[in-house]
Symmetry: C2
Subunit: 201 residues, 2 copies
DNA sequence: ACCTGAACACCGTTCAAGT
DNA sequence: ACCTGAACACCGTTCAAGT
């Protein structure tokens, strides 16, 4: 990598961070190139796809969040750890509006530049989940993917101006769905009338 | 309205329905005009905004869903009615991928052509919710907006290819969060360690 | 009244040409 | 090696001109 190329790379990341924070995740790459005062093609070769740029932009935070899960796993009770991490994860996806959909897509697409980072995040969440399940504090029928989906759902809610004022409250609602309150376990999966059966395998 | 204008209007709606079903909610209006073999400006005057077109497209289904709530309110138990309607609502938002975000935006924007339809839907859900709350079967801290947000969240989950296989399961998870299992009420709002308090006012 | 394509200002992506 | 703008194929929206 030549010296000027290295410089451009760093410059582009800085400008991109600013632009994404200002305009949102939907900023055009043209706009970023314009702000960076570089040719569009220059940006495109450093970051061949939109995801590649986002990955570079998010990697630091994603790694921190993944590591946070490992720390929490050791420090606190399984239940507290899961909820604390969940709160951090939701806070993260709310930093850049629209980022959750991209991450969800990256999770399914192995070719995506963001795939590895997202899959590590899923695994970290899954481990916290399993600890809670081993302690009998967390619904046993939830997977790491489910947890990711619920984080994404809360991120989506936070992204909608009509719902964002309720997103803290709905965090509590969904958190309560993940946890098992006390000795009552089974009756939460299927509500009273058993013949209705609203579809959880 | 002139005869040819009337014809164009109906033709555009038919073609739009097809196009949206095929390509998704993100079809360009140009594409629709092209398929309809009409000028772009013709479409734009019949439907000045994207929402106006979507409103015309969705109104029939939205009205049906709103009325369904009224029927369910009388027929079944408050709890069954709410869950049955929730299932219908989630099924509806999953018909056209991406429609939930547009509806959420319309809910906040009084100027949107879709606003009235969406607000009626919210009210219908709120009524079912209130019945369940009156019976002590539904979390008392949920509003009609919350219910709409949770429907949207499930729609979002269904829209993500990585999560859509889990969306039926997560419907059950979220449904269980809305309902109150038995005599235990309070302990679901705040999980065991009271000093953590994950933010539900 | 209603329809229409040209025009404008955008977008992502490609590629031949420059340093 | 790396950078770059012109070119291509899109998009939504506006508007003067046609029937």
């Amino acid at each position: 990598l030549r010296a000027d190329a290295k410089e451009n790379y760093a410059h582009l990341l800085n400008i991109a961070e600013q632009a994404v924070a200002e305009v949102g995740i939907g900023v055009s790459v043209r706009e970023i190139a314009r702000r960076a005062e570089l040719g569009k093609a220059t940006l495109l070769r450093h970051f061949p796809t939109r995801e590649a740029l986002l990955d570079a932009l998010l990697q630091r935070r994603l790694k921190a969040l993944t590591q946070k899960a490992e720390v929490l796993e050791q420090l606190a009770s399984a239940e507290e750890a899961l909820i604390a991490w969940l709160r951090d994860a939701v806070a993260f996806v709310r930093v850049y509006s629209g980022v959750v959909s991209m991450m969800a897509a990256a999770l399914a697409d192995q070719q995506s530049a963001l795939h590895a980072s997202c899959d590590n995040l899923r695994k970290a969440g899954a481990r916290l989940l399993e600890c809670g399940q081993a302690d009998g504090k967390v619904r046993p029928d939830l997977t790491g993917e489910d947890l990711f989906a619920l984080i994404g759902a809360l991120g989506w809610i936070g992204d909608q101006p009509s719902f964002s004022t309720r997103s803290d409250h709905l965090f509590g609602v969904i958190a309560s769905a993940i946890l098992i309150a006390g000795p009552a376990v089974k009756d939460r999966v299927d509500p009273p009338p058993p013949q209705t059966g609203h579809g959880e395998s």
